[in-house]
Symmetry: C2
């Protein structure tokens, strides 16, 4: 179809619901931010072979690319508005791949109430790369951040932890003896994060600090504590696990660190002052999201995270987290 | 240095002047748009080996990545505000490359009054890739676009045309007999576009339509005409050429189509109603930018561009323009 044909066919329809996109026909998008609101902007890139697998279904790759950004918006307590998309694709990628990719975006646009508003399509001799910049809005001064956690705050985490890292294990080396249903569940958790958008938009004024789990619970909670100038203690026995993750950990104890250290879960980690507990419970109920109390914020060296096992003894954590370099 | 070390050392200082960047310490940037203004958002990606050459100095690569985006803001009559940056770099890229890259960004931030406000750093097994999303502001309803040109408007172009395509020729095949000063000038025009930011911010209410020359004059003027539902006639003899381009074209007549068809000049092409000529001249004087009248908008098939030679005979243009696929 060529670059312009591909934009016409696959991308222009995704921009139809956002007038500021100007039908993707100008050099830039133009839009106003509602009075009394600020704009929240985040960007995340995915590289083939690094952040997704070459054989991953293109619609899931698209949705993952969008969802990791939506997760950042949720972590900032923002409501999704629009996004820009950069695709760098090798010439070998057929139009059918892009068609499936665009249909994945379309499905998530409906699910999360967000629209394409611009982008760039380039060719690359290397692996495919996708970069999305997502825009959300938040009432002025109400954005959440990583700073602001205080000693005495409880640490909550949404959903379940470790599924994505275990899903990657399923898709690469495999987990011997794991039932096909559990394997499929974990693989989907790797391929298709569930950004906590509905809860995120309700967090302003409840959580004192928050972020999403992309580098692993220990590493990300460490980021939050570093920025807030506090320490945290986590009770490893209280980490919320899916049934599939329990099965996997029972079959291969070498995977035991995944809930604490595995990346890409895109759940929210929140510091919540005691007075806001009930409010958080209500927000979770309204959003249809489960949040589990897993520890507490304490005074102590900035950025220190201690995980305790079932007997209250510290677990050796090492350097922790994923690094891109 | 590792991912976080690189962010600390090279990128955080670039965000220091923009409070909404939150010191690059949160999951997203947060900022307000001034009352009565809209946000203008554009994104452009550069791939090593496609949009820049592997041996290009990293500071110039950085500045080019930023400037192609600034050029889009200028084409929309917007004032630069901030940008996000995605770097996808092979593991072999040393810290010194990134240091030079960041210093190029710093130089242009000062020149154009813009700040880094967020981004993502990922590793890639493929060629380096850089993606920038730039943000500008414009008074509400005053953004320029590609639609809006009317029969009777004059067509103006800023600066000179063809330099960048000739510069690429210099850097790849070479132009036999070309003086070293001319060669250096053309190469720099390829490596370092000059976005017409100061003029762009003055264009609201003057031009009826505009865009920047990235695909080549004929192709881009064609885009403007298609969107405006008009045709255009260009007098090829009036195209503004640099002395270096004149030298190059005299030495190698096979390069004669570069001013009409070469890409990456990042000059502005503007449709200007007769009543706005004087205003444009004043804006150009204030911005220190030269604009040359090269043709006119006519009623006719949407998107048609005819170029006439010195005798008024049409020049065969073929498909024209650069394509990425």
């Amino acid at each position: 179809l060529g670059e312009f044909g591909r934009i016409d066919r696959f991308f222009r329809p995704l921009a139809a619901g956002f007038p500021g996109a100007r039908d993707l026909g100008d050099d830039a998008a133009v839009f106003a931010v509602p009075d009394g609101h600020e704009l929240v902007v985040t960007t995340d890139a995915l590289v083939e072979g690094v952040h997704f697998l070459p054989d991953d279904p293109p619609d899931l790759v698209a949705r993952k690319a969008l969802r990791v950004n939506l997760s950042d918006l949720a972590a900032m307590a923002a409501e999704p508005l629009a996004y820009t998309l950069v695709t760098a694709l090798p010439p070998r990628v057929p139009d059918s791949w892009l068609a499936a990719f665009a249909s994945g975006l379309g499905a998530d646009q409906e699910e999360f109430g967000i629209h394409l508003m611009g982008g760039d399509s380039v060719s690359t001799p290397g692996p495919a790369m996708l970069s999305i910049t997502a825009f959300g809005t938040v009432a002025r001064g109400r954005a959440l951040g990583r700073g602001g956690a205080r000693p005495g705050d409880a640490v909550f985490v949404t959903g379940t932890l470790g599924d994505s890292a275990l899903g990657l294990e399923v898709l690469t080396r495999g987990i011997r003896g794991l039932g096909s249903e559990a394997a499929a569940f974990l693989a989907e958790r790797y391929r298709l994060p569930r950004p906590r958008v509905r809860l995120g938009a309700r967090l302003a004024g409840l959580a004192s600090a928050g972020l999403d789990v992309s580098d692993g619970l220990v590493a990300d909670l460490g980021h939050l504590c570093a920025r807030s100038g506090v320490s945290a203690v986590v009770d490893a026995a209280r980490l919320p696990l899916s049934d599939a993750a329990r099965d996997a950990l029972a079959l291969d104890p070498a995977l035991a660190d995944r809930p604490l250290r595995g990346g890409d879960d895109y759940e929210l980690v929140l510091a919540v002052p005691p007075a806001a507990r009930d409010g958080l419970a209500e927000a979770c109920a309204a959003a249809g999201v489960q949040a589990t109390e897993i520890g507490r914020i304490e005074a102590g060296p900035a950025g220190r995270v201690v995980a305790l096992d079932g007997e209250g003894a510290p677990i050796a954590l090492g350097a922790g987290g994923w690094r891109h370099f």
